[in-house]
Amino acid sequence: MDTNFPQNNFTVPIGPQHPALKEPGLFKFVVDGEIITGASVRLGYAHRGIEKAAEGRNWVQNLYLIERVCGICSHIHALAYCLAVEQLANIQAPPRAQAIRTLVAELERIHSHLLWMGVSAHEAGFDTLFMYAWRDREKVMDLLEGLTGNRVNYSANLLGGVKFDIGTAQAQSIREGLNFIEDRVRHYQDVVTHDEMFLQRTRGIGVMTRAQAEVMGAVGPTARASNVPRDLRTIAPYAAYSQFPVQMILDTRGDLEARFEVRLDELFESIRLIREILNALPESELTIRMPRRIPAGEAVVRLEAPRGEVFYFIKGNGTDKPERLKIRTPTICNLNSVVHLAIGHQLADAPMILAGIDPCFSCNDRMVQVSKVKDGSEHDMTWKELRQYGIDYYRQLSK
């Protein structure tokens, strides 16, 4: 993901360690004064080899490994895995379990969007909104802790159902919490759309037209803010979304302000959906028995995480361990837009544009393939060669 830039300009590296980034990633901006003239991205700093590690654990153990792909959207990853494995085994989880899974997913969306709003405000220098948004997010975390047993990595899913039920007392506390959150989010929507100085940092910044969004493959709220109608909960409903439909939120402006609006409106949709599910939870058992050895086959699942489309491909070979697990998370689709949109803006807008796509680097890290370019040949380096190259490089530096 590179754009051509001349060699005599000034390169500012944002990352891998930088106060603007919550996770490591390298963004090289070539600036001319304060205007960005070129940008490039380099990932790989948080790669943990989860896809490979999943091949050595059985289906049940993998559920908890997959949850830890990302901290903010952990339930979605676990849900995708469960749906894919259930698809392989040709088993449908009972309706009450699907509804509870959807409820936790929407609660997670609320917490993720509140987190994002705080972080974006912090990047803009509006620390007060950051502090207040995160203070109110604690309410959602408490709700999730009371419901599932943990604030992050909820472990709500089981292969074939969910672990817990929602009783009337639980439902009542969730409703009260939601009322509080709804009031506060209405206030934040007011702030974000009317505060003059905050608007100066978000209005007209990072404008992405619909054509650009479709070409660059943007997903999630980033794309919906540019009027691209991509929302998997409405296009391809999964879990309980066919029974409890969601309205797609679109915005035509495509700038940062539009992304704020889309995410805040999604918050209201999530709150409405949770209330609807609580009022109409279907009666059934919570889990269904899953075999230890899942039959061979391939399964593809696409879900709508808070950041966009999450894509899972699982291949089983009839044993109790998966053969191949492939995860494609939304941030990697949206990163391209950052690199292209940043050009022409000021350096001060770059962290804002990056925050606007809601980046989550630990989700999307990939292995970096290093090819030897010094002597002109282009073969892939083996691990041994790479290690030796590093040793020689630093030995030569210290001479």
Binding site: R57, V60, R135, E145, G146, G149, E196
Partner: protein
């Protein structure tokens, strides 16, 4: 044209309100009952089947069978490996495992409190004398 200082109401109200910070450890809030804290085994209910050890994603449980016929076994639980996911509770079909909701402050200054042995005291003694501690996946069930 927008408004200046939209958060004015919030910040002026905060001057007269208590700060939202939780002053842990001076004030400890009660955790909800569903919190997944420290694991506990009811030895009488356990049969030593080892399903929990098989399904643990972190290899935190080992079931060491001392004598299969008389059902003498010991369960070793490594707190430092546990991720508190609760899968062992679900895998157990005898309801022998539960997670505490008020024991979650588990930091320690050395590694000795991190290995807990569940079982009859005689069995535990015998296992400590015989088998090596803290090895990889369970000797009996893998």
């Amino acid at each position: 044209m927008g408004v200046f200082g939209t958060m004015f109401g919030d910040i002026s109200a905060s001057l007269f309100r208590r700060p939202a910070t939780e002053q842990y450890p001076l004030k400890r809030r009660e955790a909800p009952l569903t919190l997944r804290g420290l694991l506990n085994l009811k030895v009488e209910a356990c049969t030593g089947c080892g399903l929990c050890a098989m399904d643990c994603p972190a290899d935190a449980i080992q079931v060491i069978m001392l004598d299969r016929k008389t059902k003498r076994f010991v369960m070793n639980y490594h707190i430092d490996r546990c991720t508190f996911c609760g899968q062992c509770m679900e895998s157990c079909n005898r309801d022998a495992l539960s997670m505490s909701s008020d024991e979650w402050e588990l930091a320690a200054l050395d590694k000795t409190p991190f290995l807990i042995h569940f079982g009859n005291p005689n069995d535990v003694e015998q296992s400590l004398a015989g088998t090596p501690e803290g090895g990889p996946a369970t000797p009996e069930h893998d």
